[in-house]
Amino acid sequence: MRKQLPPEMLARDSRFVRTSIMDQILDPRNRKISERTIGPAKLAPGRPASADRARNLMHGIFTGEIQALEGAGRTAFDFDETEAPFALKLDMARQCWDEARHVEISIKLGEWMGTEIGEFTEATFLYEAACAPDPVLRLCGVNRALEGLAIDVFNTMKEFGDVSGDPVLEFCEDWMLADEVTHVKMGSDWLRRLTADDPERRERALDFQRTVDKLFSLGGFRGETEENPIHLARKMREMAGFSTTEIDEIAELSELARAEGQAAVEAAGSA
């Protein structure tokens, strides 16, 4: 089996349809929609199209879990023990089991929410972060940035389950949250251990993490106001080992990404 499997080679059955993030960015509706008042973006019953937005988000979580499973598996395989120590590989194998459970949970939750596998398209950006050639970059991009985002997403979904009185959604998100906190911690631990004597490598990894964090805050997707569909889960992030300064930094990045997204939309409109 080859080492380093590119995203386009991810194996899927015929139900899955791949999409590119560029299609979403270049959608001519973006500029127009930003001129609308469509009400608070936060999910809640009675809010604009909450059910379909939650179903769509849940499907995104499902495909994200598949890619997290695949990414952890590849990190266990792609490197020899000089690059990825035995104990790191064991952690990645453990993460495979956890992510496999998350895929199972997501499928059952999807069914519960009336969604079919493959009903919505799949973007592969999570796995793309798991293709970095340095395992420390993978751990920062995936475990710290993206699984940090997963904490925010699951927490938001858990709250949505709570306010809508959905016992299944709340139950499942709570369990997945517990696992993700562990995965983020794994990322932080390995970052510290593998770069203890290599500050340059550490900085490269943190830079990669910032890039991924910013990408996923695009257009105000994540933030701390009612206008952000996904909320920064400060308490859970603290449990996962993020410092207050680090969380503040992500909040700032999110705000910056929102402003840049807005500017890009306006620029595209006047071009």
Binding site: D27, G39, G46, R55, S164, V168
Partner: protein, 206 residues
């Protein structure tokens, strides 16, 4: 034959064909035995993508006034393109509800912009149940059930009401209000009574 008109006649942001939507609407009207002397006017808001799926169906001034977000008809695999199966179903639900308003026991129902999400969820379950029993409509029942539960509650009373509505061919607005009262008793969680996903809020510009 039902006269159908549509706005916009030319879509510029998405790849929808207005003529094709009119054709589908005519076919749907025919299969629902929609009164042929009632004109149908459709407005599709092409700015709003999936999953901002929403619609309204009113009977105003002797005409069926339908409004949809583009997302309501959008192919979930191919953005900005129409999914005709979805469009047929959405038009079917809307025209059935207008038919209800004309002479199906919903004559005194308020306009869609004035009814709550919960009332709407009840009515949609009633409409979709009937649609599944007709030829040519693919109703995604599990989705409908989830939308319904989200607005009406995750409990046995709500589920029983859903099954009742789904199987019914003769529910009235008064029946809906009676069911709504039952649901309130089973799940008194306060919900936003305003129909926020609708045309008025979504079409406003800043």
């Amino acid at each position: 034959m039902t006269v159908v008109s549509i706005v916009p006649e030319l879509f510029t942001l998405i790849e929808f064909d207005a003529e094709r939507i009119k054709e589908i609407a005519s076919e749907v009207a025919k299969s629902l035995a929609f009164p042929s002397d009632v004109d149908v006017h459709i407005e599709v808001d092409e700015v709003l993508p999936a999953p901002l799926n929403s619609s309204q169906a009113d009977y105003l001034g002797g005409r069926a006034e339908l409004w949809f977000t583009g997302g309501a008809f959008e192919d979930t695999h191919k953005g900005r393109h129409i999914d005709e199966v979805l469009a047929r179903c959405g038009l079917g639900e809307a025209l059935l509800r207008v038919k209800d308003r004309i002479s199906g026991g919903f004559e005194d129902a308020p306009n869609d912009s004035e009814i709550s999400e919960r009332q709407r969820a009840l009515w949609d379950a009633y409409a979709d149940g009937r649609l599944t029993r007709l030829e040519g409509f693919v109703v995604r029942e599990p989705r409908r059930r989830y939308v319904y539960r989200l607005e009406c509650g995750f409990n046995d009373v709500a589920d029983a009401a859903y099954d009742q509505l789904w199987a019914s061919d003769a529910t009235t607005w008064a029946d809906l209000l009676e069911i709504e009262a039952r649901l309130m008793e089973a799940d008194p969680t306060e919900r936003d009574a305003k129909p926020s996903a609708r045309r008025i809020s979504l079409r406003q510009t800043q």
